[in-house]
Protein backbone atom coordinates (compact mmCIF):
# COMPACT_ATOMS: atom_id res chain seq x y z
CA UNK A 1 0.00 0.00 0.00
CA UNK A 2 2.84 2.35 0.99
CA UNK A 3 4.61 1.53 -2.26
CA UNK A 4 1.45 2.31 -4.21
CA UNK A 5 1.10 5.68 -2.50
CA UNK A 6 4.79 6.38 -3.10
CA UNK A 7 4.39 5.43 -6.76
CA UNK A 8 1.33 7.68 -7.19
CA UNK A 9 3.04 10.60 -5.43
CA UNK A 10 6.12 10.20 -7.59
CA UNK A 11 4.37 9.83 -10.93
CA UNK A 12 1.07 11.64 -10.38
CA UNK A 13 1.74 14.15 -13.17
CA UNK A 14 2.39 11.34 -15.64
CA UNK A 15 -0.73 9.52 -14.42
CA UNK A 16 -2.83 12.68 -14.88
CA UNK A 17 -1.28 13.15 -18.32
CA UNK A 18 -2.19 9.62 -19.42
CA UNK A 19 -5.74 9.92 -18.06
CA UNK A 20 -6.25 13.23 -19.88
CA UNK A 21 -4.78 11.80 -23.08
CA UNK A 22 -7.07 8.77 -22.96
CA UNK A 23 -10.12 11.00 -22.38
CA UNK A 24 -9.05 13.28 -25.25
CA UNK A 25 -8.46 10.34 -27.60
CA UNK A 26 -11.84 8.83 -26.69
CA UNK A 27 -13.60 12.15 -27.25
CA UNK A 28 -11.81 12.75 -30.55
CA UNK A 29 -12.39 9.26 -31.94
CA UNK A 30 -16.11 9.49 -31.21
CA UNK A 31 -16.47 13.07 -32.39
CA UNK A 32 -17.13 12.58 -36.13
CA UNK A 33 -18.33 9.78 -38.40
CA UNK A 34 -14.89 9.73 -40.06
CA UNK A 35 -12.98 9.19 -36.81
CA UNK A 36 -15.55 6.61 -35.70
CA UNK A 37 -15.11 4.70 -38.96
CA UNK A 38 -11.31 4.81 -38.57
CA UNK A 39 -11.68 3.54 -35.01
CA UNK A 40 -13.89 0.66 -36.16
CA UNK A 41 -11.48 -0.16 -39.00
CA UNK A 42 -8.51 -0.21 -36.61
CA UNK A 43 -10.52 -2.26 -34.15
CA UNK A 44 -11.44 -4.78 -36.83
CA UNK A 45 -7.86 -5.00 -38.07
CA UNK A 46 -6.46 -5.66 -34.58
CA UNK A 47 -9.13 -8.09 -33.42
CA UNK A 48 -9.31 -9.73 -36.87
CA UNK A 49 -5.59 -10.47 -36.74
CA UNK A 50 -5.87 -11.73 -33.17
CA UNK A 51 -8.88 -13.90 -33.98
CA UNK A 52 -7.19 -15.35 -37.06
CA UNK A 53 -4.11 -16.19 -35.01
CA UNK A 54 -6.22 -17.76 -32.24
CA UNK A 55 -8.30 -19.77 -34.72
CA UNK A 56 -5.20 -21.01 -36.54
CA UNK A 57 -3.59 -22.03 -33.26
CA UNK A 58 -6.68 -23.91 -32.07
CA UNK A 59 -7.04 -25.57 -35.49
CA UNK A 60 -3.42 -26.67 -35.40
CA UNK A 61 -3.81 -28.35 -32.03
CA UNK A 62 -7.05 -30.06 -33.06
CA UNK A 63 -5.51 -31.51 -36.25
CA UNK A 64 -4.75 -34.83 -34.58
CA UNK A 65 -8.37 -35.21 -33.43
CA UNK A 66 -9.67 -34.13 -36.85
CA UNK A 67 -7.36 -36.62 -38.52
CA UNK A 68 -8.58 -39.45 -36.30
CA UNK A 69 -12.16 -38.46 -37.07
CA UNK A 70 -11.43 -38.50 -40.81
CA UNK A 71 -9.88 -41.95 -40.60
CA UNK A 72 -12.97 -43.20 -38.73
CA UNK A 73 -15.16 -41.68 -41.42
CA UNK A 74 -13.11 -43.35 -44.16
CA UNK A 75 -13.56 -46.72 -42.45
CA UNK A 76 -17.28 -46.06 -42.10
CA UNK A 77 -17.54 -45.14 -45.80
CA UNK A 78 -15.57 -48.22 -46.79
CA UNK A 79 -18.04 -50.33 -44.82
CA UNK A 80 -20.95 -48.69 -46.58
CA UNK A 81 -19.24 -49.24 -49.94
CA UNK A 82 -18.83 -52.90 -49.09
CA UNK A 83 -22.51 -53.15 -48.23
CA UNK A 84 -23.16 -51.68 -51.64
CA UNK A 85 -20.75 -54.13 -53.28
CA UNK A 86 -22.50 -57.01 -51.53
CA UNK A 87 -25.89 -55.82 -52.68
CA UNK A 88 -24.91 -54.82 -56.24
CA UNK A 89 -21.77 -56.81 -56.99
CA UNK A 90 -21.61 -56.55 -60.77
CA UNK A 91 -20.03 -53.12 -61.41
CA UNK A 92 -17.47 -53.52 -58.61
CA UNK A 93 -14.41 -55.60 -59.41
CA UNK A 94 -12.86 -55.51 -55.97
CA UNK A 95 -13.56 -58.43 -53.69
CA UNK A 96 -14.90 -61.06 -56.02
CA UNK A 97 -13.43 -63.65 -53.68
CA UNK A 98 -13.65 -61.49 -50.54
CA UNK A 99 -16.99 -59.78 -50.69
CA UNK A 100 -17.82 -59.75 -47.04
CA UNK A 101 -15.27 -57.15 -45.92
CA UNK A 102 -15.35 -55.11 -42.77
CA UNK A 103 -13.14 -52.08 -42.11
CA UNK A 104 -11.67 -50.83 -38.82
CA UNK A 105 -9.58 -47.68 -38.38
CA UNK A 106 -6.53 -48.01 -36.14
CA UNK A 107 -3.58 -45.94 -34.96
CA UNK A 108 0.02 -47.12 -35.17
CA UNK A 109 1.58 -47.45 -31.72
CA UNK A 110 5.01 -48.66 -32.85
CA UNK A 111 6.60 -49.69 -36.10
CA UNK A 112 9.89 -51.49 -36.67
CA UNK A 113 11.89 -51.21 -39.90
CA UNK A 114 15.32 -52.68 -39.28
CA UNK A 115 14.61 -56.36 -38.59
CA UNK A 116 14.21 -59.36 -40.87
CA UNK A 117 10.55 -59.46 -39.94
CA UNK A 118 9.10 -56.09 -39.10
CA UNK A 119 5.97 -55.62 -37.02
CA UNK A 120 3.48 -52.81 -36.51
CA UNK A 121 1.63 -52.53 -33.19
CA UNK A 122 -1.91 -51.12 -33.51
CA UNK A 123 -4.28 -49.67 -30.90
CA UNK A 124 -7.27 -51.84 -31.81
CA UNK A 125 -7.80 -55.39 -30.55
CA UNK A 126 -10.33 -58.19 -30.31
CA UNK A 127 -12.83 -55.93 -28.55
CA UNK A 128 -12.84 -53.69 -31.63
CA UNK A 129 -13.39 -56.63 -33.98
CA UNK A 130 -9.79 -57.21 -35.02
CA UNK A 131 -9.01 -60.76 -36.09
CA UNK A 132 -5.84 -62.59 -37.15
CA UNK A 133 -5.12 -62.45 -40.91
CA UNK A 134 -6.94 -59.17 -41.43
CA UNK A 135 -5.30 -57.01 -44.11
CA UNK A 136 -3.64 -53.75 -43.01
CA UNK A 137 -3.96 -50.92 -45.53
CA UNK A 138 -3.02 -47.26 -45.48
CA UNK A 139 -5.82 -44.73 -45.35
CA UNK A 140 -5.38 -44.37 -49.13
CA UNK A 141 -5.93 -48.11 -49.58
CA UNK A 142 -2.32 -49.23 -50.20
CA UNK A 143 -1.15 -52.59 -48.83
CA UNK A 144 0.90 -52.52 -45.63
CA UNK A 145 0.73 -56.01 -44.08
CA UNK A 146 -1.50 -58.43 -42.23
CA UNK A 147 -2.51 -59.02 -38.62
CA UNK A 148 -0.58 -61.86 -36.99
CA UNK A 149 -1.81 -61.64 -33.42
CA UNK A 150 -4.18 -59.63 -31.28
CA UNK A 151 -5.08 -59.11 -27.66
CA UNK A 152 -8.19 -57.57 -26.15
CA UNK A 153 -7.16 -53.97 -26.95
CA UNK A 154 -4.12 -54.23 -29.21
CA UNK A 155 -3.03 -56.08 -32.28
CA UNK A 156 0.21 -56.65 -34.14
CA UNK A 157 0.68 -56.81 -37.88
CA UNK A 158 3.50 -58.18 -39.98
CA UNK A 159 4.35 -55.55 -42.56
CA UNK A 160 5.37 -56.19 -46.17
CA UNK A 161 8.90 -55.57 -44.94
CA UNK A 162 9.55 -59.15 -43.91
CA UNK A 163 11.79 -61.79 -45.41
CA UNK A 164 9.53 -64.74 -44.47
CA UNK A 165 6.57 -64.14 -46.74
CA UNK A 166 6.00 -64.12 -50.47
CA UNK A 167 2.86 -62.49 -51.82
CA UNK A 168 1.03 -63.28 -54.99
CA UNK A 169 0.69 -60.07 -57.00
CA UNK A 170 -0.17 -59.04 -60.54
CA UNK A 171 0.65 -56.23 -62.90
CA UNK A 172 -1.98 -53.55 -63.24
CA UNK A 173 -2.43 -53.67 -67.04
CA UNK A 174 -2.03 -57.22 -68.31
CA UNK A 175 -2.55 -58.97 -64.97
CA UNK A 176 0.61 -61.10 -65.29
CA UNK A 177 1.27 -62.60 -61.89
CA UNK A 178 4.49 -62.74 -59.89
CA UNK A 179 5.87 -63.29 -56.44
CA UNK A 180 6.61 -60.30 -54.25
CA UNK A 181 9.05 -60.33 -51.33
CA UNK A 182 11.28 -58.05 -49.34
CA UNK A 183 15.04 -58.37 -49.86
CA UNK A 184 15.99 -55.90 -47.10
CA UNK A 185 17.03 -53.26 -49.64
CA UNK A 186 15.31 -50.41 -47.75
CA UNK A 187 11.92 -49.58 -46.30
CA UNK A 188 10.55 -48.33 -49.62
CA UNK A 189 11.33 -51.05 -52.16
CA UNK A 190 10.55 -54.75 -52.53
CA UNK A 191 11.40 -57.34 -55.20
CA UNK A 192 9.08 -58.96 -57.70
CA UNK A 193 10.17 -62.22 -59.37
CA UNK A 194 8.69 -64.83 -61.66
CA UNK A 195 6.90 -62.42 -63.99
CA UNK A 196 6.55 -63.96 -67.41
CA UNK A 197 8.91 -62.64 -70.10
CA UNK A 198 5.85 -62.10 -72.29
CA UNK A 199 4.35 -59.64 -69.81
CA UNK A 200 3.86 -56.06 -71.00
CA UNK A 201 6.08 -54.59 -68.32
CA UNK A 202 7.34 -51.03 -68.14
CA UNK A 203 8.64 -48.58 -65.59
CA UNK A 204 5.80 -47.03 -63.54
CA UNK A 205 3.45 -49.98 -64.10
CA UNK A 206 1.30 -50.60 -61.04
CA UNK A 207 1.60 -53.75 -58.98
CA UNK A 208 -1.50 -54.92 -57.12
CA UNK A 209 -2.66 -57.84 -55.05
CA UNK A 210 -3.80 -60.70 -57.23
CA UNK A 211 -7.03 -62.53 -56.73
CA UNK A 212 -5.04 -65.42 -55.28
CA UNK A 213 -4.02 -63.47 -52.20
CA UNK A 214 -6.19 -64.13 -49.19
CA UNK A 215 -4.85 -61.24 -47.15
CA UNK A 216 -5.40 -58.32 -49.49
CA UNK A 217 -8.53 -57.76 -51.55
CA UNK A 218 -7.83 -58.27 -55.25
CA UNK A 219 -6.68 -55.06 -56.85
CA UNK A 220 -5.22 -53.56 -53.67
CA UNK A 221 -2.36 -51.43 -54.85
CA UNK A 222 1.08 -52.41 -53.61
CA UNK A 223 3.47 -50.27 -55.59
CA UNK A 224 4.93 -49.38 -58.98
CA UNK A 225 7.67 -50.98 -61.07
CA UNK A 226 10.90 -49.08 -60.67
CA UNK A 227 13.22 -51.37 -62.58
CA UNK A 228 12.71 -54.62 -64.54
CA UNK A 229 15.47 -56.93 -65.78
CA UNK A 230 14.84 -60.01 -67.94
CA UNK A 231 16.49 -63.03 -66.35
CA UNK A 232 16.03 -66.09 -68.54
CA UNK A 233 12.33 -66.79 -68.86
CA UNK A 234 11.16 -64.32 -66.22
CA UNK A 235 11.51 -60.73 -65.23
CA UNK A 236 13.16 -59.69 -61.99
CA UNK A 237 11.77 -56.34 -60.89
CA UNK A 238 12.28 -53.77 -58.19
CA UNK A 239 9.01 -52.33 -56.93
CA UNK A 240 8.59 -49.04 -55.09
CA UNK A 241 5.96 -49.46 -52.40
CA UNK A 242 2.96 -47.10 -52.60
CA UNK A 243 2.60 -47.14 -48.82
CA UNK A 244 5.17 -45.11 -46.90
CA UNK A 245 5.54 -47.68 -44.14
CA UNK A 246 8.24 -45.66 -42.39
CA UNK A 247 5.76 -42.83 -41.74
CA UNK A 248 2.60 -44.75 -40.96
CA UNK A 249 0.30 -43.11 -38.44
CA UNK A 250 -3.17 -44.40 -39.20
CA UNK A 251 -4.24 -47.59 -40.96
CA UNK A 252 -7.39 -49.37 -42.03
CA UNK A 253 -7.87 -53.02 -41.10
CA UNK A 254 -9.83 -55.01 -43.64
CA UNK A 255 -11.55 -58.13 -42.44
CA UNK A 256 -12.42 -60.96 -44.75
CA UNK A 257 -14.85 -63.09 -42.78
CA UNK A 258 -14.74 -65.75 -45.51
CA UNK A 259 -10.98 -66.31 -45.27
CA UNK A 260 -11.36 -69.24 -42.86
CA UNK A 261 -13.90 -70.86 -45.15
CA UNK A 262 -11.64 -70.39 -48.18
CA UNK A 263 -8.63 -71.71 -46.27
CA UNK A 264 -10.64 -74.71 -45.16
CA UNK A 265 -11.61 -75.41 -48.76
CA UNK A 266 -7.97 -75.05 -49.89
CA UNK A 267 -6.82 -77.46 -47.20
CA UNK A 268 -9.69 -79.94 -47.79
CA UNK A 269 -10.25 -80.20 -51.55
CA UNK A 270 -12.06 -83.53 -51.22
CA UNK A 271 -15.24 -84.15 -49.21
CA UNK A 272 -14.77 -85.78 -45.83
CA UNK A 273 -15.50 -89.54 -45.94
CA UNK A 274 -17.32 -91.34 -43.19
CA UNK A 275 -15.35 -94.19 -41.66
Amino acid sequence: MYKLIYFIRKFYVAIIFFILEIIAIACYLNSTPYTESRLIAANNAIFGTFNRFATNTVSYFSLRRENAKLVEQIAELQNRLNDYVTRYPEPIEVGQNMRNLHHIAAKVMSNSLNRNTNYIVLNKGEDDGVRINMAVLTVDGYAVGSITNCTQHYSIARSLLNTDQHFSVRLGKDHSVGSLYWAKDDAYTVRLDDVSKYAQIERGETVEASGFSLYFPAGTRIGTIEEAVLDGMTYKCRVRLSADIARLQSVILVDNSEIDEVKYMQENPLPATEE
Partner: protein, 172 residues
Protein backbone atom coordinates in the same frame (compact mmCIF):
# COMPACT_ATOMS: atom_id res chain seq x y z
CA UNK B 1 5.56 42.04 -12.71
CA UNK B 2 6.52 43.80 -15.89
CA UNK B 3 7.33 40.45 -17.46
CA UNK B 4 3.96 39.05 -16.40
CA UNK B 5 2.19 41.92 -18.16
CA UNK B 6 4.27 41.24 -21.26
CA UNK B 7 3.42 37.55 -21.05
CA UNK B 8 -0.33 38.23 -20.75
CA UNK B 9 -0.13 40.58 -23.74
CA UNK B 10 1.81 37.91 -25.63
CA UNK B 11 -0.85 35.30 -24.84
CA UNK B 12 -3.66 37.59 -26.01
CA UNK B 13 -1.87 38.40 -29.26
CA UNK B 14 -1.15 34.74 -29.97
CA UNK B 15 -4.72 33.62 -29.22
CA UNK B 16 -6.16 36.46 -31.32
CA UNK B 17 -3.86 35.57 -34.19
CA UNK B 18 -4.76 31.89 -33.97
CA UNK B 19 -8.51 32.20 -33.41
CA UNK B 20 -9.36 35.28 -35.42
CA UNK B 21 -6.99 34.93 -38.35
CA UNK B 22 -5.21 31.61 -38.83
CA UNK B 23 -8.22 29.39 -38.03
CA UNK B 24 -10.21 31.13 -40.76
CA UNK B 25 -7.57 31.14 -43.47
CA UNK B 26 -8.73 29.31 -46.59
CA UNK B 27 -5.62 29.73 -48.77
CA UNK B 28 -5.04 25.99 -49.09
CA UNK B 29 -5.71 22.77 -47.19
CA UNK B 30 -1.93 22.38 -47.06
CA UNK B 31 -1.50 25.59 -45.07
CA UNK B 32 -2.68 25.28 -41.45
CA UNK B 33 -0.26 27.06 -39.09
CA UNK B 34 -0.57 26.38 -35.34
CA UNK B 35 0.95 29.26 -33.43
CA UNK B 36 -0.74 28.83 -30.05
CA UNK B 37 2.01 26.41 -29.05
CA UNK B 38 4.19 29.55 -28.63
CA UNK B 39 2.35 30.17 -25.32
CA UNK B 40 3.73 26.91 -23.94
CA UNK B 41 7.14 27.57 -25.44
CA UNK B 42 7.39 30.88 -23.60
CA UNK B 43 6.26 29.69 -20.17
CA UNK B 44 8.88 30.40 -17.44
CA UNK B 45 11.69 27.86 -17.24
CA UNK B 46 10.93 26.87 -13.66
CA UNK B 47 7.26 26.08 -14.36
CA UNK B 48 6.40 22.74 -12.76
CA UNK B 49 5.19 19.82 -14.86
CA UNK B 50 1.75 20.01 -13.25
CA UNK B 51 1.38 23.73 -14.05
CA UNK B 52 2.55 23.02 -17.60
CA UNK B 53 -0.04 20.30 -17.94
CA UNK B 54 -2.89 22.43 -16.58
CA UNK B 55 -1.90 25.38 -18.78
CA UNK B 56 -1.68 23.13 -21.83
CA UNK B 57 -5.07 21.59 -21.04
CA UNK B 58 -6.84 24.95 -20.63
CA UNK B 59 -5.14 26.40 -23.71
CA UNK B 60 -5.92 23.41 -25.94
CA UNK B 61 -9.52 23.18 -24.68
CA UNK B 62 -9.98 26.84 -25.63
CA UNK B 63 -8.50 26.21 -29.08
CA UNK B 64 -10.66 23.09 -29.49
CA UNK B 65 -13.76 25.14 -28.74
CA UNK B 66 -12.80 27.87 -31.19
CA UNK B 67 -11.78 25.40 -33.92
CA UNK B 68 -14.82 23.15 -33.40
CA UNK B 69 -12.72 20.04 -32.80
CA UNK B 70 -13.28 17.66 -29.89
CA UNK B 71 -10.08 16.68 -28.14
CA UNK B 72 -7.75 16.94 -31.14
CA UNK B 73 -5.81 19.92 -29.80
CA UNK B 74 -5.81 18.51 -26.27
CA UNK B 75 -4.29 15.21 -27.28
CA UNK B 76 -1.64 16.89 -29.45
CA UNK B 77 -0.72 19.66 -26.97
CA UNK B 78 -0.44 17.64 -23.74
CA UNK B 79 2.53 15.53 -24.96
CA UNK B 80 4.32 18.74 -25.96
CA UNK B 81 3.77 20.13 -22.46
CA UNK B 82 5.06 16.91 -20.91
CA UNK B 83 8.14 16.82 -23.15
CA UNK B 84 9.01 20.50 -22.89
CA UNK B 85 11.30 20.02 -19.89
CA UNK B 86 13.25 17.07 -21.40
CA UNK B 87 13.59 18.98 -24.69
CA UNK B 88 14.86 22.06 -22.90
CA UNK B 89 17.21 19.96 -20.79
CA UNK B 90 18.56 18.28 -23.89
CA UNK B 91 18.90 21.38 -26.03
CA UNK B 92 19.63 24.17 -23.56
CA UNK B 93 20.99 22.36 -20.51
CA UNK B 94 18.07 23.61 -18.39
CA UNK B 95 19.69 23.29 -14.97
CA UNK B 96 22.16 26.06 -15.81
CA UNK B 97 19.40 28.44 -16.78
CA UNK B 98 16.55 27.54 -14.44
CA UNK B 99 16.25 30.87 -12.79
CA UNK B 100 12.95 31.76 -11.15
CA UNK B 101 10.43 33.41 -13.47
CA UNK B 102 12.86 33.49 -16.37
CA UNK B 103 11.30 32.78 -19.73
CA UNK B 104 13.38 31.16 -22.46
CA UNK B 105 14.94 33.97 -24.47
CA UNK B 106 17.74 34.28 -27.00
CA UNK B 107 19.83 36.15 -24.49
CA UNK B 108 19.42 33.41 -21.91
CA UNK B 109 20.01 30.28 -23.99
CA UNK B 110 21.62 31.53 -27.17
CA UNK B 111 20.28 32.08 -30.72
CA UNK B 112 20.95 28.62 -32.11
CA UNK B 113 19.63 26.76 -29.07
CA UNK B 114 16.59 29.04 -28.89
CA UNK B 115 15.52 28.38 -32.48
CA UNK B 116 16.28 24.65 -32.16
CA UNK B 117 14.05 24.58 -29.08
CA UNK B 118 11.20 26.38 -30.91
CA UNK B 119 11.51 24.15 -33.98
CA UNK B 120 11.53 20.97 -31.85
CA UNK B 121 8.38 21.98 -29.97
CA UNK B 122 6.51 23.03 -33.13
CA UNK B 123 7.55 19.94 -35.10
CA UNK B 124 6.49 17.65 -32.25
CA UNK B 125 3.11 19.36 -31.94
CA UNK B 126 2.45 19.42 -35.70
CA UNK B 127 3.49 15.80 -36.13
CA UNK B 128 1.02 14.60 -33.50
CA UNK B 129 -1.73 17.01 -34.60
CA UNK B 130 -1.72 16.17 -38.32
CA UNK B 131 -1.16 12.45 -37.83
CA UNK B 132 -4.08 12.17 -35.42
CA UNK B 133 -6.22 14.43 -37.58
CA UNK B 134 -5.67 12.24 -40.65
CA UNK B 135 -5.76 8.84 -38.83
CA UNK B 136 -4.68 7.22 -42.08
CA UNK B 137 -1.77 7.21 -44.51
CA UNK B 138 -4.04 6.58 -47.47
CA UNK B 139 -3.10 9.88 -49.15
CA UNK B 140 0.48 9.79 -47.93
CA UNK B 141 2.02 12.49 -50.12
CA UNK B 142 -0.76 14.99 -49.45
CA UNK B 143 -0.38 14.27 -45.73
CA UNK B 144 3.40 14.72 -45.88
CA UNK B 145 3.13 17.95 -47.88
CA UNK B 146 0.52 19.33 -45.45
CA UNK B 147 2.69 18.37 -42.48
CA UNK B 148 5.81 19.98 -43.95
CA UNK B 149 4.16 23.22 -45.13
CA UNK B 150 2.13 23.67 -41.95
CA UNK B 151 5.10 22.90 -39.71
CA UNK B 152 7.33 25.31 -41.60
CA UNK B 153 4.72 28.06 -41.54
CA UNK B 154 3.96 27.45 -37.83
CA UNK B 155 7.66 27.59 -37.00
CA UNK B 156 8.04 30.78 -39.01
CA UNK B 157 5.03 32.43 -37.31
CA UNK B 158 6.21 31.41 -33.83
CA UNK B 159 9.74 32.64 -34.50
CA UNK B 160 8.47 35.99 -35.75
CA UNK B 161 6.20 36.35 -32.71
CA UNK B 162 8.94 35.43 -30.28
CA UNK B 163 11.38 37.71 -32.06
CA UNK B 164 8.88 40.56 -31.65
CA UNK B 165 8.37 39.86 -27.95
CA UNK B 166 11.89 38.72 -27.21
CA UNK B 167 13.24 42.20 -26.42
CA UNK B 168 10.31 42.87 -24.07
CA UNK B 169 10.98 39.62 -22.18
CA UNK B 170 14.70 40.25 -22.05
CA UNK B 171 14.30 43.75 -20.57
CA UNK B 172 12.69 42.72 -17.29
Amino acid sequence: MNQQRHYILFVMVVLALQCLLLNHLTISTLFAPMVYIAILIMLPLDTSQLKMLVTALLLSLFIDVTMGTVGLNVLSTLPVAMLRRPILRHIANLSDYAIANDVPTIKLIGVRRFYTYIASMVVLHSLIFFTVEQLSFFNFWHFTLRLVISTLSSTAFVMILLRLFNTRFESK
